[in-house]
């Protein structure tokens, strides 16, 4: 069967140092050769899995269009099991778009969303759960998140899920034996027995979901909000975090113009700083977006950076802020240690309770290290750093786990309310199927549709 050759920009949209246009298909090398001028060889002559310096020439004008490095990977040892060419060019929308246009004019077809992965999948290169982990690979915003995605591809999640499914299957089989052989003297699967087993599996799924939350954070970034009265140094804190750590993605627009997010990587913890524009413009989140919305932003945050003024007394407003973030992960930052102490530090520690308190002088760039250490510790809490942790970092997986959890809860409540065991078994079997969908064991058509539409262009 013939494959036409597809092409797409395979790096995220936005400003980066380099960008990549990827081609896959029988004609990939031929198309690239129409554009490429190297020092020595044409691309069809170079060894597989090499990267080659040269220029792209616009065939219409015969002028140099771009300075490039071109990777050539020949089938079958490639991501799609087809010939792949990756053109590395300068970052920025203008140049990468120019390269893509040249490739399309030379005979490539613009890839559909997820088409590279689809081909990899169709050519037997990856299985379903691996295919989905690929989504996370490209979205991985830090090295650590990258590891999580890799682990999933190696099947750690599959293994864990398989174990749970096996347990469910065994329980179901036990129920079945009582049904199909009602007179035989097999031990009756009683309500109590069943209840214990289901609670056990439920507990495991809950645990996966807890780590899933970490996985989601790794992928999407720890949603972080900086709060504090006006003029305590929120803006300096923001600038300090962004400049120290280089923003990975800049100015990703949110759903409204009000909320602007910035990503920074603090010691392996990706922070998604929410409403940074608000802070920059007015220094006061509440004032800017209104009390209700700010409450909502606070509520959805994973981490609160609460900033106080070292050189000012604690105010009623400060205490109200503490009240508003009660029960959340909070780091208290007492800023402006370069000025005379007016704040009652004992009182601060008292109301901060178990939350870490860091003193800084952002002006003199003091205390930023401690702050970063606190963030890192708060997130990883030591144990999470273990490399063999299975994070579930894909929102479809999480949704399925949540559904499994809820069907198991249905089973438990059916058992507890005295419904016949074989009724509860319907929920148990459903749980088994749902878990199967995560590892692609009970594929349904909608799953396929959703899977491939979820892939972004150029993957």
């Amino acid at each position: 069967m013939e494959h036409d050759t597809i092409a797409a920009i395979s790096t995220p949209m936005g400003e980066g140092a380099i960008a990549i246009v990827r081609l896959s298909g029988d004609e990939a090398i031929k198309i690239a050769d129409q554009l490429y001028r190297g020092k020595k060889k044409a691309l069809k002559e170079v060894d597989s899995h090499t990267i080659n310096y040269g220029h792209l020439i616009d065939p219409e004008t015969n002028e140099v269009a771009e300075e490039v490095m071109v990777s050539v990977m020949k089938a079958p040892h490639t991501f799609t099991k087809e010939d792949i060419v990756e053109i590395n060019c300068h970052g920025g929308l203008v140049s990468v778009n120019r390269v893509l246009q040249l490739v399309l004019r030379a005979g490539g077809r613009l890839a559909e969303p997820g088409e590279f992965t689809k081909r990899a999948f169709l050519n037997g290169r990856i299985d379903l759960s691996q295919a989905e982990a690929v989504i996370d690979l490209i979205r991985a915003k830090t090295d650590r998140a990258m590891n999580v995605a890799l682990n999933q591809m190696e099947g750690r999640l599959s293994k864990l899920i398989s174990t749970l499914r096996q347990e469910l299957l065994e329980t179901v089989a036990h129920v079945e034996v009582n049904i199909d052989y009602p007179e035989y003297d097999a031990e009756e699967m009683t309500h109590d027995l069943l209840l214990n087993k289901m609670k056990d599996v439920h507990h495991h799924i809950e645990r996966i979901l807890t780590t899933a939350k970490q996985g989601k954070i790794l992928r999407e970034g720890l949603s972080t909000v900086i709060v504090g009265r006006p003029n305590v140094g929120k803006s300096s804190l923001l600038n300090s975090l962004v400049h120290e750590n280089k923003a990975i993605v800049t100015d990703v627009p949110g759903t409204t113009r009000d909320v602007i997010e910035e990503y920074v990587n603090v010691r392996g913890v990706p922070l998604r700083l929410v409403d940074t524009a608000g802070i920059r413009e007015t220094e006061d989140i509440v004032e800017r977006i209104g009390v209700e919305r700010s409450r909502k932003v606070l509520k959805e945050a994973d981490l609160i950076l609460l900033v106080l003024n070292y050189s000012d007394e604690l105010t009623h407003e400060d205490e109200q802020l503490f009240e508003a973030v009660k029960g959340m992960d909070v780091i208290v930052i007492v800023n402006k240690t370069d000025l005379p102490e007016k704040i009652d530090m004992d009182r601060v520690k008292e109301i901060a309770q178990e939350h870490p308190v860091v003193t800084t002088s952002l002006l003199k760039e003091e205390g930023v290290d401690q702050l970063e250490e606190s963030i890192s510790q708060l997130f990883f809490r030591g144990s999470l750093e273990a490399q063999d942790m299975t994070y579930v970092s894909n929102s479809r997986h999480i949704a399925l786990l949540e559904q499994s959890k809820s069907t198991l809860e249905d089973a438990v409540s059916a058992i507890e309310s005295g419904l016949p065991v074989d009724m509860a078994q319907i929920d148990i079997t459903r749980t088994w199927e749902l878990l199967g969908e995560i590892i692609g064991d009970t594929v349904s058509e909608s799953l396929i549709d959703q899977l491939f539409s979820q892939f972004c262009l150029g993957k």
Partner: protein, 627 residues
């Protein structure tokens, strides 16, 4: 020496449980039908246990009845006891089982066949099929008679190259020492069919007079009258009990020390036996930590002294069988009337069939029953009726009727056979049905009577009665939604007396009925019931109480149906599809599923293969890979 006999629309070869349903179905649908059997005295013979029904199987009997078949009616007339099983569990797994009077069962069935218009019953052994250009056109008997037919249904059970084995003794034989059918099996192989060798077995029978029942537990039938058929109005009240006893240490020691005499372990038996119905020697070897095994003593009829020793199926030598019997409490002095034996036979690999039960290799040839690799009377009968319906419809130029997995256990059975095949004699289990809450004993009529009527199988009078019942159920369900039960002192007292939590607020009768401990009968006591038949009350109660679960299963059925609606073009070339695993290519090519749904159930085909198929079909690439 050959001669030309009469011509028929449909010829059924065999008159066992598959054959009789096939013949009756075909004849009742207006096809001129001939039934050929080796021996007219063995019509509807039960070579093994004297019972009909049980989990899953009993529901099949109800389904056969709802479609207009005979098994349910026949057992209702000829049983010695009936029991509803799994009554402590949910409605989905309740199942009726009858102990049959074997002889009566046969003679009743034979009478029905003989009375059927359009149906000719004839003794004769079919040795060959008349096949022209891949189309079956008739049969040839051992005596040289040629009968032309537009369609032929083979239901030869365990007769094909049958071989009985008892200890080191073995001889060619059909079940119960009837003559085997040797040449037909070779003929089928010549025609290109893949055959497989299966094994099954039966226990010894003992004389009722020689059993000491004081050492066994009595197993009576239900007091409440029961029936399989929706048409039955007369119930048999005079029931005979069965009895329960156990093997013991002595039994196990005896068998263990004589295993070398077992043909199972000496390698004499080559056929594959069913895991779920092991011989006693098998049970003792495989579950050696079990201190005792159950033995049920089941009378074979009212006018016979023979008692079936269920649980003691064996192919051990005859002298050893006697000794084993003597180790079992109650059977110490039992007089063995027939020895147990194992029987090996040829079966057709069922993936060679379309879901209509027509063979893929030869048009207008259908097969049903144990020949297709199943085990059990009910499984055979369920296939028989469908083969009969579809052969008649083929003759009448109509599309085949295919029951899906959410419609009937028969649908599950046939889909499993033709899609997955089987490497042991196939028995229906409730767990094979993924939508078993929909496939209940109680609602077989609601599932299938419309279809039975539509294909001309269910008579008008019965259909009218059915329609009325359906309307009453719907009306009563609606009414209960609207009737409000108020927490008056009388209501609360009645609830208390029934052991039900009292009401907090006024609530609809339907909501109240959803509580596990509330029955329709209790609603009647509270004064909110209606004068409805027990059958209607049962449906209203089940459909209301389990509405949430039923809804969930219906959603799953919707998903399945979407997959089943995606048809696979008949000329698809699986070997031309890149990315399909080799095993999947081979399996799909063998089974040639009609839909994506069916393909997804083929064993050895994994989800990514299905995704690939889906993607191909959706992208219209099929055209490119078609032959």
């Amino acid at each position: 020496m050959g001669y030309k006999g009469e011509s028929y629309d449909v010829i059924v070869v065999g008159a066992g449980h598959a054959g009789v349903e096939a013949g009756l179905a075909s004849a009742r649908m207006g096809a001129k039908t001939l039934m050929l059997t080796l021996n007219l005295d063995s019509v509807a013979f039960m070579p093994c246990n004297p019972s009909v029904g049980g989990p899953a199987k009993g529901i099949v009997v109800r389904e056969i009845d709802a479609l207009g078949g005979e098994m349910g009616r026949n057992i209702d007339k000829t049983h010695i006891q009936m029991r509803m099983l799994n009554t402590g569990k949910g409605p989905a797994v309740r199942a009726l089982r009858a102990q049959a009077d074997k002889v009566l069962y046969q003679s009743e069935m034979k009478k029905t066949l003989e009375q059927e218009e359009n149906l000719t019953l004839l003794q004769g052994m079919v040795e060959r099929l008349i096949v022209e250009d891949g189309v079956c056109k008739g049969v040839v008997t051992k005596t040289g008679a040629e009968y032309d037919a537009k369609a032929v249904i083979l239901t030869t059970g365990t007769f094909l190259r049958g071989k009985i084995i008892i200890g080191d003794l073995s001889y060619e034989s059909g079940p119960n020492n009837m003559q085997p059918s040797i040449n037909l099996s070779y003929h089928l192989q010549e025609l290109g069919f893949d055959m497989v060798r299966f094994k099954t077995g039966t226990p010894p029978r003992v004389n009722n007079k020689s059993i000491d029942y004081s050492k066994a537990e009595i197993q009576p039938g239900d007091e409440e009258p029961r029936a399989f058929s929706y048409e039955t109005t007369k119930y048999i009240t005079d029931q005979l009990p069965c009895w329960l006893t156990y093997t013991g240490e002595e039994t196990h020691e005896l068998i263990n020390s004589n295993l070398h005499r077992s043909p199972m372990y000496s390698g004499m038996i080559e056929g594959t036996g069913p895991r779920y119905c092991p011989s006693i020697e098998d049970k003792i070897v495989r579950f050696n930590d079990k201190p005792r095994h159950q033995i049920f003593l089941e009378p074979e009829g009212r006018d016979t002294n023979e008692v079936y020793v269920q649980g003691l199926s064996t192919s051990l030598p005859e002298d050893l069988q006697r000794k084993i019997l003597a180790t079992i409490p109650g059977l110490e002095k039992a007089e063995m009337m027939r020895a147990g034996y194992a029987i090996e036979y040829d079966a057709i690999v069922p993936t060679q069939l379309w879901p209509s039960l027509e063979t893929k290799r030869i048009q207008n040839l259908f097969t049903a029953g144990q020949l297709n690799g199943t085990s059990g009377y009910e499984e055979a009968a369920g296939q028989g009726i469908m083969a009969g319906i579809n052969a008649a419809r083929k003759v009448q130029d109509k599309e085949p009727v295919i029951l899906d997995r959410s419609q009937a256990y028969i649908g599950v059975l046939i889909d499993d056979l033709v899609t997955k095949g089987t490497n042991e004699p196939y028995r229906l289990l409730t767990s094979r049905a993924e939508y078993r809450l929909l496939l209940r004993h109680d609602n077989a009529d609601l599932r299938l009577t419309d279809l039975g009527y539509e294909i001309g199988f269910i008579k008008q009078e019965r259909f009218d009665r059915f329609t009325k019942k359906k309307e009453q159920i719907e009306a009563e369900k609606k009414r209960l939604e609207k009737v409000i039960v108020k927490p008056t002192p009388e209501v609360q007292e009645k609830l208390r007396n029934a052991g039900v939590t009292e009401l907090k607020d006024a609530t609809s009768a339907a909501t109240l009925l959803k509580r596990p401990e509330v029955t329709y009968g209790l609603l009647a006591q509270l004064g909110v019931g209606e004068e409805v038949s027990d059958e209607v009350a049962e449906q209203v109660e089940i459909q209301t109480k389990y509405a949430g679960y039923i809804e969930k299963q219906l959603q799953q059925v919707d998903r399945m149906k979407k997959m089943d609606e995606k048809k696979i073009p008949e000329d698809i070339d699986y070997f031309a599809i890149q990315g399909l695993a080799n095993e999947a290519k081979q399996k799909l090519n063998e089974v040639r599923p009609l839909s994506i749904g069916q393909a997804s159930r083929v064993s050895g085909v994994n989800p990514s293969d299905i995704s690939i198929l889906l993607v191909y079909i959706e992208q219209g690439k099929i055209a490119r890979v078609g032959k």
